[in-house]
C-alpha cells in the first residue's frame, strides 16, 4: 500500500523492541465483543489509476460552472481565480502544516493570518477581524451569539433580506443557546420592517447588503435605530467582491460585519470549504469567537506573530469559552489573502466595477423580454426577476439546453410563496454570448 512505509520486516523488528508477540497484543484493551477479525465489507485497496477512474466518472456527471452560460449566485459566486493562488496554497509548507501553535516554526501561516485580518478589517471598514470562520453562515450565527454576550440581551431580529440558509443556521444555533429569534418575512427592500421590530430587549439586528435578492442598501438608518435601543447592528455580505464598490459595513455603522469570503480566491466546490470573514469594533474584541493572530517580539527583539487572546478559546476556557470553534478555514484564508494581494485596492475596485457592469448588461437584456419583471431596484452583481412561469421548472428546462439560468428563490425558501422569482448573477466571467444565450432560451421558455 503506497501510503504505508513499514515493511513486514520493520513491523517484526518493532514488535520485538516493544516486547509484543503480535499486533493483536497492542489491541488487548479492546473488549472482545468489539474485536473484528475479518475485513469489513468494503472494496480492497486500489491504485492511483483506479481511484482516478472512479472519481473522474463521478465528476463527469456534474455540470461545472465554467462549462457554459452560468448565472447562479445566492451566496456562492463564480469568479476567476489567478493561477498563482492555487499554486501557492499547494505548497507543502502551507498545505500540510497544522494550526500555528508553535510560532517559531509557523511564521509563514501566522504572518499570512495577520495580513488576512488586516485585509478583512479594511474591506469591512471595522477595527479588528479574526483569523476566519468556517463560512459566512456560521459566522453570522456566531455574530448573533456574540451580540448576546456583549449586550446581555436575548433577542435577535433577522431581516427578511437575509439569505434564508443564513437565517436557518442562525436560528438553529442561537436558539440552542435559548435566544429568541425573530425572522422577518422575505422582502426585497427589508429595512423598514427591521427598524419597526427593534425594541429595548433586542440584542442585535442582522441585515444583509447586497441582500438575498441582490438589493444594495445603506443601512445607516438601521444602525441609528439599533444603537438608540442599545442593540448591535450585524451586517452580512455574501458577495465579498462587492466591498470593492459599495460603502463598507463600518462606514454605515455596523458593530459586527460578517461575510462569505469565497468570491476572493476560493473555488465553488459545491458549497465548501469556504471562508467566513468576521470583523468588529475594537471594544468588542474580547467577546469575539475564533482564532486571533497578534504581533509581538521574539527573544532577540525581532517582530513576529502569535495566536493571541486565547483565554477566550475552548482549549483554555473550556465551558466558559466564547465559542467551541477550533479548526477554522486557514488554507482558504490564505487563498483569500493571496488573491486580494494580487488585486490590491486598484484591482478590487476594477473587478467590482466590472461585476456591476456585467450585471447591468444582464439586467438590460432581460428587462426587454416580455413578461419578465426586474424586481431588485439597486443591485451589485445579482438581482431578482419575476418570470411569467415557474422559476424552478424554467431552470430545470434550461439545464437541458446547456444553460444554468440562476437560482429559483423557492429552492432557498419554498415557504416564501415566490415560485416565479429567479435570482440571477453576473460576474467578470460572464460574456455577452452567455447573456445572449440566456435571453434566447428564456424567450423560448416564456413563449415569446
Amino acid at each position: 500500500m503506497r501510503y504505508l512505509p513499514l515493511t513486514p520486516a520493520d513491523r517484526a523488528k518493532m514488535l520485538s523492541v516493544i516486547g509484543a508477540k503480535s499486533i493483536d497484543d497492542l489491541f488487548i484493551d479492546v473488549p472482545g465483543v468489539a474485536q473484528i477479525r475479518d475485513l469489513f465489507d468494503l472494496p480492497r485497496h486500489a491504485g492511483e489509476m483506479e481511484v482516478e477512474r472512479e472519481l473522474a466518472a463521478l465528476a463527469a456527471m456534474n455540470r461545472p460552472a465554467g462549462s457554459g452560460p452560468f448565472f447562479c449566485g445566492a451566496g456562492a459566486y463564480k469568479h476567476h481565480i489567478p493561477a498563482t493562488v492555487d499554486h501557492v496554497i499547494q505548497r507543502s509548507e502551507f498545505l500540510t502544516s497544522y494550526t500555528p501553535y508553535q510560532p517559531e516554526i509557523a511564521q509563514g501561516t501566522l504572518q499570512v493570518l495577520f495580513e488576512f485580518q488586516t485585509q478583512v478589517a479594511a474591506l469591512t471598514g471595522l477595527d479588528v477581524a479574526n483569523a476566519s470562520m468556517y463560512d459566512g453562515s456560521t459566522a453570522c450565527a456566531e455574530a448573533v451569539m456574540m451580540a448576546q454576550r456583549v449586550t446581555r440581551r436575548n433577542k435577535a431580529v433577522l431581516s427578511g433580506g437575509l439569505h434564508p440558509h443564513y437565517a436557518a443556521v442562525t436560528q438553529t444555533i442561537a436558539s440552542a443557546e435559548s435566544m429568541e429569534i425573530t425572522r422577518l418575512a422575505a422582502a426585497i427592500d427589508a429595512e423598514a420592517a427591521v427598524i419597526a421590530s427593534i425594541d429595548n430587549d433586542t440584542a442585535c439586528v442582522v441585515v444583509q447588503t447586497p441582500n438575498a435578492f441582490g438589493t444594495v442598501t445603506d443601512v445607516s438608518k438601521v444602525a441609528e435605530a439599533a444603537h438608540a435601543a442599545g442593540a448591535l447592528l450585524i451586517v452580512v455580505t455574501t458577495e465579498a467582491i462587492s466591498f470593492g464598490l459599495l460603502k463598507s459595513p463600518g462606514e454605515m455603522g455596523a458593530d459586527i460585519a460578517v461575510a462569505e469570503g469565497q468570491s476572493i480566491g476560493v473555488g465553488l466546490s459545491y458549497g465548501g470549504p469556504y471562508v467566513g470573514l468576521f470583523a468588529c469594533k475594537e471594544k468588542y474584541v474580547r467577546q469575539m469567537p475564533g482564532r486571533l493572530c497578534g504581533e509581538t517580539l521574539d527573544a532577540e527583539g525581532r517582530r513576529g506573530f502569535v495566536l493571541t487572546l486565547s483565554t477566550r478559546e475552548q482549549h483554555i476556557r473550556r465551558d466558559k469559552a466564547t465559542s467551541n470553534i477550533c479548526t477554522n478555514s486557514g488554507l482558504c484564508a490564505l487563498a483569500f489573502t493571496i488573491h486580494l494581494s494580487l488585486l490590491g485596492e486598484r484591482g478590487l475596485k476594477s473587478l467590482a466595477a466590472l461585476n456591476h457592469s456585467r450585471a447591468r448588461e444582464l439586467r438590460d437584456a432581460l428587462a426587454v423580454i416580455p413578461g419578465v419583471q426586474i424586481l431588485t431596484p439597486r443591485f451589485f452583481n445579482e438581482f431578482a426577476v419575476r418570470l411569467p412561469v415557474n422559476a424552478a421548472e424554467t431552470v430545470e428546462a434550461l439545464v437541458g439546453q446547456g444553460i444554468v439560468a440562476g437560482v429559483p428563490y423557492s429552492r432557498l425558501a419554498p415557504e416564501a410563496g415566490m415560485d416565479d422569482v429567479l435570482l440571477v448573477a453576473a460576474t467578470e466571467t460572464t460574456t455577452e454570448a452567455d447573456i445572449a444565450a440566456l435571453v434566447v432560451a428564456l424567450k423560448g421558455r416564456t413563449g415569446q
Partner: protein, 522 residues
C-alpha cells in the same frame, strides 16, 4: 579546513567565531520578509481586467469613496512574498509532526488532484440536482463507507470541522430528548481529560458541564460516572481512544450505564485513526460520533483548516439529523434541503450549503486508495509506531501510563525532568533546533507537564528512529545539565521564542501605518 577538489571550503572553519546574526535580519537563505502592507504596493495590481461598459452611477451615494488601504503587488512580487513566508513553516512533508490528538499524517496528492477536477471544484452548490448527480453520488458513497466503518446507520455530512460535528451531535441529542418529553435534562458529563471543545460545545448548546474523574490507569472512573449519572443527564461525551492515548476498556459498560438513565453517548472521534478498520464504534454502544476527515482520512490541515466533521448517528438519533441530506430514488439522487412532512424532526441546519465537498472528495479518494485492508493496516501501523516510540523513549523519559500498550499516541509526563531546571516547554522548543516539530504539550490536563506524541502510520521506521534518537540525545543533554540548550531554545528556527504575554496584554491585531497609535488594550 576541508576542501573539495577545486579548493572550495566545504565546511566552516571550526575556529571562526559566530558573527552574532546577519546584518539584514535574514537567516541563511531565509529573508526577513516584510508585511504585504510594507512593500509599497499602494497603486499596483497583479491582475489585468477589461474596462467596464457601464459605470456605477445608478448606485448614487451607495458607492464607497473612502480609501480602503489595501496594497496590491505584481505577480512576481506576490509569488516571492508568499513563497518566502511559506519557508518559515514546518510541515508534514518536511518531517514527522508528532502533535498528539492531531493525526498529522501524509496528505496524498492524488486527493488534491481529484478535488480540483472541474466537476467537483467548479461546481456551484445550487446547481440543479439533475446537473450534480456525481456530487450527490460521491456524498452517498462516502456516507456508506463512514457508516460501514463505524457500524452506525446514519451520518450527517454537513458539519465543517470536529467541533462543529460535536455541536451537531449534541443538537441531535437535545432534539431527541425534547421529542421524548425529556427536554428538562440539563447536564452533560465530560471526563477531565477531554478536549476543550467538548465542554465548550456542551455549554454552547446550553448544558451545564460536570466532570468525571479519571482512574490511576488513565481511564474513566466508573464509580464516579455511576455516581454522577442521573435523570438530569442528557449525554456523556467520551473520547475513545481517549486523550491519554488509551482505549477505554469499560466502554461497553459506560454505554450501558449511560443508556440506563436515558442519556445518550457522544463519542469524540478525534482518535478514530487508532481503530479504523478494526473496531466499530457502533458495536460499543455509541449514539453519535464525529469523524475528523482531516485527521483519520488525510485531508490536509492547511495551517488550521479547513476540516470536515461528519457525524455518524445511531438509529435513536438519526431522525433528528440536520438538513440537507442526500436520498436516492428511481430518478437518481435528490438533495433534501427544506424537509417537509414526516421528516421535520430534524433539528435545523448547520451550514449554508452541503458541507465540505472539497474534503469529501479527498477523503473518498483516500478510502478508495486504502480499501478495507489498507485502512485496517493504517490503524495497526499507527498503534505500532506509537508503541515503538513509547518503548524506545521510556528508557529516558517517564511514560504517564507505563502499564500495557498505548493506542496511536504515547503520553509522557515531566517527572523525568525534575531537578533539571528544564520544563516541558523548554524541551519541546529544543526539539525545533533538532529539526522536529514539538509534540502536543500540557494536554491532556490530567497529566503533569504532558508530552503527547502521535507519529501516525505514515512514518517509516527510519524516520521514527531519527526522531527517537534526537529525543534521546536531548534527554541526555537535559540530564547532563546542558540547561541553556533548552531554556533559550529555539536558537536555529526562523525566530527565537516569542513573547506571548506581551501579545495578549497589548493586542495588535492589524497592521497600521506607523503614524497611528497601536491598538490599546481594553
Amino acid at each position: 579546513m576541508s576542501m573539495n577538489s577545486v579548493g572550495r571550503p566545504t565546511r566552516p572553519d571550526q575556529q571562526t567565531p559566530g558573527v552574532g546574526g546577519s546584518l539584514t535580519g535574514a537567516r541563511g537563505l531565509l529573508q526577513d520578509e516584510a508585511l504585504i502592507f510594507e512593500l509599497g504596493g499602494w497603486d499596483k495590481t497583479g491582475v489585468d481586467l477589461e474596462a467596464p461598459k457601464f459605470d456605477a452611477s445608478d448606485l448614487g451615494d451607495l458607492v464607497r469613496t473612502a480609501p480602503m488601504g489595501l496594497p496590491g503587488l505584481s505577480e512576481p512580487e506576490t509569488m516571492r512574498h508568499y513563497v518566502r513566508l511559506s519557508q518559515k513553516n514546518h510541515a508534514i512533508d518536511l518531517a514527522l509532526y508528532p502533535l498528539g490528538s492531531c493525526t498529522m499524517k501524509h496528505n496524498p496528492r492524488l486527493n488534491e488532484k481529484m478535488a480540483r477536477l472541474a466537476g467537483f471544484g467548479d461546481l456551484h452548490p445550487l446547481t440543479p440536482v439533475s446537473a450534480s448527480q456525481g456530487a450527490l453520488a460521491l456524498m452517498d458513497r462516502l456516507a456508506h463507507w463512514l457508516k460501514t466503518l463505524t457500524a452506525m446507520p446514519a451520518v450527517a455530512m454537513s458539519p465543517k470541522a470536529g467541533a462543529h460535528g460535536e455541536l451537531c451531535g449534541l443538537l441531535c441529542i437535545k432534539a431527541a430528548h425534547e421529542a421524548k418529553g425529556q427536554g428538562h435534562r440539563r447536564t452533560v458529563l465530560v471526563p477531565t481529560s477531554a478536549h476543550g471543545t467538548n465542554p465548550a460545545t456542551a455549554a454552547f448548546v446550553g448544558y451545564s458541564v460536570t466532570e468525571i474523574a479519571q482512574t490511576e490507569d488513565g481511564r474513566v472512573d466508573l464509580a464516579d460516572l455511576e455516581a454522577k449519572l442521573s435523570a438530569d443527564v442528557a449525554a456523556i461525551m467520551v473520547t475513545n481512544p481517549n486523550t491519554c492515548g488509551l482505549f477505554e476498556r469499560d466502554i461497553v459498560e459506560i454505554a450501558r450505564l449511560t443508556h440506563e438513565v436515558g442519556a445518550y453517548f457522544y463519542c469524540d472521534g478525534a482518535n478514530f485513526n487508532a481503530i479504523v478498520g478494526r473496531v466499530r464504534p457502533g458495536d460499543l454502544g455509541v449514539d453519535a460520533m464525529h469523524i475528523n476527515l482531516h485527521k483519520t482520512f488525510s485531508t490536509p490541515h492547511g495551517g488550521g483548516g479547513p476540516g470536515a466533521g461528519p457525524v455518524v448517528l445511531s438509529a435513536a438519533l438519526a431522525p433528528f439529523a440536520p438538513a440537507p441530506w442526500v436520498v436516492s430514488g428511481s430518478n437518481g439522487f435528490d438533495l433534501i434541503e427544506s424537509p417537509e412532512g414526516d421528516a421535520v424532526q430534524g433539528f435545523g441546519r448547520m451550514v449554508a450549503f452541503q458541507g465540505q465537498m472539497g474534503m469529501f472528495v479527498r477523503a473518498y479518494a483516500y478510502m478508495l486508495s486504502h480499501g478495507a485492508d489498507g485502512l485496517r493496516q493504517v490503524a495497526e501501523d499507527a498503534v505500532l509506531n506509537a508503541n515503538y516510540i513509547k518503548a524506545r523513549l521510556s528508557k529516558v523519559m517517564t511514560p504517564a501510563f507505563p502499564e500495557g500498550p498505548c493506542m496511536h499516541e504515547a503520553l509522557f509526563d515531566d517527572h523525568w525532568l525534575e531537578g533539571t531546571g528544564i520544563t516541558t516547554l523548554d524541551f519541546a522548543k529544543a526539539m525545533i533546533d533538532e529539526g522536529f516539530h514539538p509534540m502536543t504539550m500540557y494536554f491532556p490536563l490530567v497529566v503533569h507537564g504532558a508530552m503527547l506524541i502521535e507519529p501516525t502510520e505514515t512514518e517509516s521506521k527510519l524516520e521514527l528512529d531519527r526522531f527517537c534518537d534526537a529525543l534521546i540525545a536531548l534527554a541526555h543533554a537535559a540530564k547532563a545539565g546542558d540547561v541553556d540548550r533548552f531554556t533559550g531554545a529555539p536558537y536555529l528556527a526562523p525566530l527565537r521564542r516569542l513573547d506571548e504575554t506581551q501579545a495578549a496584554r497589548k493586542p495588535k491585531l492589524t497592521w497600521k501605518p506607523v503614524s497611528q497609535t497601536p491598538l490599546a488594550a481594553e
